[in-house]
């Protein structure tokens, strides 16, 4: 097999989505939960990303991080540092981060106006 390991074969050109300045909101319930999670230490940030996969093709990825090697936009919302990877900014503009208190299926939820459809569990969208 000739795998082009000499790198003379060009990579398939990927369509790079436009980077958008993201606006997002956090519901009061979600803010309360984030306050509990962060405590007084606000040096950490909430990373809101998107990964491929899930029933609908994209999956939300919420993490509390000190830093990340991803190229991100940094927002400050009510004292919370929020990081949005630029590569997925086009999928996250206008979202609201909410928190739903339920025994099953509860937790952080993302309400996304860009999503055409989403999976029943709310973790995946397209």
């Amino acid at each position: 097999m000739d795998c082009g390991t000499c790198d003379s074969a060009d990579p398939v050109q990927m369509v790079k989505p436009e980077v958008i300045n993201v606006n997002l909101t956090i519901s009061e319930m979600a803010k309360n939960m984030l306050s509990d999670a962060f405590g007084d230490d606000r040096s950490h940030a909430l990373l809101v990303g998107v990964l491929s996969g899930g029933c609908s093709g994209y999956m939300y990825d919420l993490q509390i991080v000190e830093s990340t090697d991803q190229d991100c936009q940094e927002l400050s919302i009510d004292g919370f540092r929020v990081l949005i990877p630029k590569a997925s900014s086009h999928l996250l503009d206008g979202i609201e981060i909410d928190y739903v208190e339920k025994l099953m299926g509860g937790g952080f939820k993302i309400i996304n106006p860009n999503a055409e459809s989403s999976c029943g569990c709310g973790e995946s969208f397209s």
């Binding site: 097999m1 795998c3 082009g4 074969a9 990579p11 996969g53 029933c55 093709g57």
Partner: protein, 252 residues
């Protein structure tokens, strides 16, 4: 038919007497990056995250209706993964996957034009060797199942004594093996064309998973791959035509 000097027979002497046919419509892409296996796993039917260097696995990219986008064989080459798919489906596969890469470490290179691909069939691969491949020089031979292997050779270095593809099709009909462009097309879901083995039912979510899981749990998959009598079967259902027997995808 490409110009194919004899090499495979000398480097793989055991295949000398086995039938080999050229795959003229196969695609070959290199997938590099630390997130490749996780990325493919999140978008296809089989569990590929445990694939190790020297192993191969087949998996199917499906759309939201669980219809096949492409069925690929992944070769883990150590530093990267090579995917063998169906050339007419490559554009659709790349569109489907590339817009989902986002921030993940995945790059794809099309090396189809650098290689020739062949199918060696009617062989008896040791069960321990199924799902593995070996390379010598620019020849890579992957044991897909116990009865057929895929051979990838640098352009122009393939075997000279080739069987006609029709002979491979005859063998497929007898052994009820679905193939790209015949049964494995964008019109069918994996269960309909006999690829149940490539659908991992415990792996978690991917596009089309809910539909496949529902079909499986209810035991209702609609159509399925069958061997049929060529003369009596409805011609529009036949996917691979043989003289007396054919393959067809028909309602169970």
């Amino acid at each position: 038919m490409p110009n194919l000097p004899a090499v495979v027979g000398s480097l793989f002497p055991e295949v000398k007497s086995l039938p080999i046919a050229a795959l003229l419509d196969a695609s070959l892409t290199v997938w590099r990056g630390k997130d490749v296996l996780e990325f493919i796993d999140g978008l296809s039917t089989n569990k590929v995250t445990e694939l190790k260097s020297g192993q191969l696995i087949r998996t199917i990219f499906t759309d939201s209706n669980a219809k096949i986008i492409d069925c690929v064989t992944l070769f883990h080459m150590g530093e990267f993964v090579v995917a063998v798919g169906h050339l007419p489906f490559l554009d659709k596969l790349l569109k489907h996957t590339s817009r989902r890469i986002l921030g993940q470490d995945v790059t794809i290179t099309d090396i189809t034009q650098r290689n020739d691909l062949f199918i060696e069939f009617d062989c008896i691969n040791d069960s321990a060797d199924v799902g593995t491949f070996s390379s010598e020089g620019d020849i890579t031979r992957g044991n897909i199942t116990s009865s057929y292997s895929l051979i990838v050779v640098g352009k122009g270095n393939g075997p000279i004594n080739l069987e006609k593809f029709e002979k491979f099709n005859q063998w497929r009909i007898i052994n009820k093996i679905p193939w790209h462009g015949y049964e494995i097309t964008n019109s069918f879901h994996p269960f309909a064309c006999g690829l149940e083995d490539l659908v991992h039912l415990q792996k978690g979510c991917y596009i089309g998973q809910e539909i496949l899981a529902r079909m499986h749990s209810r035991g209702r998959q609609g159509k399925s791959l069958s061997q049929v009598d060529t003369l009596t079967c409805k011609p529009s259902s036949i996917t691979t035509m043989g003289e007396t027997q054919s393959l067809a995808i028909i309602r169970c």
